[in-house]
Point group: none
Chain length 131, copies 4
Amino acid sequence: MSLTIARAEGIIKAGRATAEKLGVKVSIAVVDDRGDLVAFARMDGARFMTVAISQGKALASALFGQPSGVLAERAGSPVFQSVIQMNQGRVVFGQGAMPITEDGHGIGAVGVSGATSQQDEDVAKAGLAAS
Amino acid sequence: MSLTIARAEGIIKAGRATAEKLGVKVSIAVVDDRGDLVAFARMDGARFMTVAISQGKALASALFGQPSGVLAERAGSPVFQSVIQMNQGRVVFGQGAMPITEDGHGIGAVGVSGATSQQDEDVAKAGLAAS
Amino acid sequence: MSLTIARAEGIIKAGRATAEKLGVKVSIAVVDDRGDLVAFARMDGARFMTVAISQGKALASALFGQPSGVLAERAGSPVFQSVIQMNQGRVVFGQGAMPITEDGHGIGAVGVSGATSQQDEDVAKAGLAAS
Amino acid sequence: MSLTIARAEGIIKAGRATAEKLGVKVSIAVVDDRGDLVAFARMDGARFMTVAISQGKALASALFGQPSGVLAERAGSPVFQSVIQMNQGRVVFGQGAMPITEDGHGIGAVGVSGATSQQDEDVAKAGLAAS
């Protein structure tokens, strides 16, 4: 039970189709349950900071097995602040990432950045739904 | 469509003229759309921390395509805190930088530090207006 | 003249086909001329360190506009040691990345990690040849 | 006795004229005796890594009051390695920077990056000669 590149690319493909419909330019990052990158795509015109932020949201979601938007509420807590520091800021507790599950187990996450936080999450959900 | 050294120097020249009128001593940094430095000038008597702060404000403005003063309101947010850490503290979410545009596209930013935040922004705007 | 996601994905697809023929499991990273990630894929079974190393080789190649294998000879030089540190170790001066050009201009690089250094470079070259 | 912005800009202007004659695209950084930036210009088409490397050479030259090319021979020494680490890699012990003096006292340095090491130094020297 682990995240395959085939599934990761399916998530990105479906997410991108949704982003195009919404008219937004985003980066989409898919990570495994350890938070390590499996597949990534930056749409033409997406700002460069979306590269790191999409991965950071995916990492947050994978680490905790929850949507990153849910975690955002606790981002100011001492524990979360330590998690951010431990990872040199590369964990991003902001809306836009969803955990990827298989038979109820967390196997990774997909993180999106470049549009509004809600649109980012919508793109992530659309990617998941199709995979 | 990219920021030339000629335009960057024009912005600095006009910004400095305004700073002299205001009687303030500032650093002025012009960066491209990726946040990399194109041109820089520190006026005689400007403190050394203005070197990094002017560049940090310009970087923030370039990253998000907005005046850094607008971003300052969200500086405490978890996502912005991560962005600061990811960049080893080199992004500064404080008033005093303006995005540089060409035909409606963001091509960089100018950041100023050394006077009050409002004066810093006035110098940045004066630089842009003349370029 | 800039690297599109379409071209980046074409490079990854062709590189992966070659890696499968060689029977190796690799990560393939495509970055733009600034070294920022455009597309990425980690084949099933590729070790997690290949994620960072493929990107680091691509970054080195993009920074200098040369195959990373050519740069490897100078990796111990003082200047290169500083470049590694400036980038928090994220630049990797090892064989396995090739610059991507368009009309003779460097627009990015493709970096590969997971097999022998020579195979890594072969995969990168195969990706480029097909794009 | 300190480095003025007027002198720094004169050095950059003369350096650039020489770079144009040589047909090379460089970044030129002028720092004070503390190594802090006073003025900077990146010529159109100079690679982004030249931004950090020109400043790093200037910093090395200012710190030791010598041409950075002379320091390059000792770059592997334990002390110099510590200096590099203390400064997060931002000191670059490579040819291309010259100290700026006034009445025999070091007041700063000019660092150049983007061409061959010798050409970088030639540009730095030309800038100094004219100022």
